[in-house]
């Protein structure tokens, strides 16, 4: 349902001359219904670009070829909710209100979203900060708030760009657990998650499948499926990253 086929994305230089940056080179990747895919890869290889492509957020200047498939909601809109690598919190909204942006943008009724937002704030360790301005939050708190905002969209397909990069291992593990429990718990076949992460253990814990990309221009160099209890071979994964 979520797919790119032969996707090439190149960025011509902003105004002047010079070489275009080829971010993705004929990338093909599919995420099936109910699947949780983690994307690993060196910095600058095009992971964020891939997620932006699915989110419909490639800049106008980008030269794009290939196919981008995105599931649609019943009203024809994209069924995806994207979480940016930088949090994108609005400085003029307090924490709770920033979270509600997800619900507003996705058309989720306020009556349903608001209690959920309050509950999640507590669950994410942000209790008591409902009325804080973003600039009053720590880096990790901002990131959690951004994830919370994404979840309030209630969209079935999540595109998460390094959602836990600014979290300490403990908080990270707690958030991982939360995501695992909620993320695809109702594997109703409609949901899917594409997660960009730099944490191999996180990928191993969460993903049904792990995709490793090469350096720029990003292509897929390694792909592994979870296998039973000891789901992945950690060392092989790390080695593939090092290639």
């Amino acid at each position: 349902m979520l797919a790119v086929r032969d996707l090439t994305v190149a960025f011509p230089p902003a105004r002047g001359k010079g070489d275009a940056t080829v971010a993705l080179d004929r990338l093909t990747l599919e995420v099936s219904r109910g699947e949780f895919v983690a994307v690993l890869g060196p910095s600058g290889c095009g992971k964020s670009t891939l997620l932006r492509a699915w989110g419909g957020l490639l800049v106008e200047r980008a030269r794009v070829s290939g196919e981008i498939a995105v599931p649609r909601a019943s009203d024809g809109t994209r069924a995806t909710a994207w979480m940016p690598q930088r949090d994108g919190l609005l400085p003029w909204r307090r924490a709770l209100s920033n979270a509600m942006v997800g619900a507003i943008a996705a058309g989720v009724p306020r009556e349903r979203a608001l209690p959920r937002a309050r509950a999640l704030l507590v669950e994410f360790g942000l209790g008591g900060f409902e009325d804080a301005w973003p600039h009053e939050l720590s880096g990790g708190m901002r990131q959690r708030l951004a994830l919370l905002r994404t979840c309030l969209t209630e969209r079935p397909v999540l595109l998460l760009d390094e959602p836990f990069g600014a979290l300490d291992p403990v908080t990270r593990r707690r958030m991982n657990a939360w995501l695992a429990s909620v993320g695809l718990v109702s594997q109703d076949g409609e949901r899917a998650v594409a997660l960009v992460t730099h944490d191999v253990d996180e990928a191993i814990t969460l993903a049904d499948r792990i995709v490793v990309m090469s350096g720029r221009p990003g292509r897929i160099v390694h792909e592994v499926q979870a296998h039973g209890e000891s789901r992945y071979d950690r060392e092989a994964l790390l080695a593939s990253l090092d290639a």
Binding site: G55, G56, L57, T77, G88, L90, A106, G107, T153
Partner: protein
């Protein structure tokens, strides 16, 4: 002493020093009062003509406030509209430019043909002056909005309308307020000029009559009234800014 009392104090002292310097200049220099009357003289005249002034001030204040409100609203809405539908901006551009370049002395007679002598034509003339800085400053603020924020909304499933309401409009508020701050400074002056052209009451009428009567001291009373009304309007806008941008730290008042 809080920064705000300090600011008020420094401002007050500056005004006092200015007035003292003016008084001294007139007393020591040999400018005839007919060119520049001393502030003490102006103050005395003001006290003398105080009973006259009330209705004039009220008229001008009404025109300025209504015109400011109308102009700011139109300017901001136009900024939003042109941000939403770029073609409207390209269509509006020449009209807006013309509206700012036709001299009031030429526009006023046409305006009065259309809106008569009453309050309306003056409010419209003030609005015409005022909408422009609000439009430009808001447009700039809407345009220069963080792509990051607009993308965030789109990535969450938001439409262009959502981007407008959630990001562009709020992001335009500080810019619009800067425009409004400029506009507020012009509003009273614009009202006065509109009264020069056709008024039966107002500070502009008072000044014009004083000019015709070669009463320079009264002209300066009129100017002082304009300055005071303007200062009040500007302070109101600054208070509005404080109220509308609670996430920003309190800041200087210029």
């Amino acid at each position: 002493m809080t920064p705000r009392t300090r600011a008020a104090l420094v401002g007050g002292v500056t005004v006092a020093v200015l007035i003292a310097a003016w008084e001294a200049a007139v007393r020591m220099g040999d400018l005839p009062p007919f060119v520049l009357p001393a502030p003490s003289h102006v103050a005395a005249t003001a006290v003398g003509s105080a009973p006259l002034l009330g209705p004039h001030v009220l008229t001008t204040a009404t025109e300025a406030v209504l015109g400011l409100a109308l102009g700011a609203t139109v300017g901001w809405l136009l900024a939003v509209l042109t941000a939403t539908i770029p073609t409207t901006g390209q269509v509006a551009q020449p009209v807006v430019l013309l509206s700012q370049t036709i001299p009031t002395v030429v526009l006023a007679p046409l305006m009065i043909l259309w809106a008569g002598f009453g309050l309306t034509s003056k409010v419209v003339l003030v609005a015409l002056t005022v909408f422009f800085p609000v439009l430009i400053a808001s447009s700039a603020a809407i345009r220069d909005v963080d792509a990051e924020h607009a993308d965030m909304v789109a990535g969450l499933g938001g439409t262009r309308r959502h981007q407008l309401w959630i990001v562009r409009l709020p992001a335009s508020v500080p810019g619009a307020l800067a425009g409004l701050r400029i506009a507020a400074t012009y509003a009273v002056g614009a009202a006065v000029v509109s009264e020069y052209l056709a008024g039966a009451s107002g500070i502009g009428v008072f000044i014009q009559r004083s000019r015709k009567a070669y009463a320079v001291d009264q002209i300066f009373v009129g100017i002082a009234l304009i300055a005071i009304l303007t200062a009040v309007l500007v302070l109101a806008i600054v208070a509005l800014r404080r109220a509308l941008t609670p996430w920003q730290p309190a800041h200087a008042r210029l």
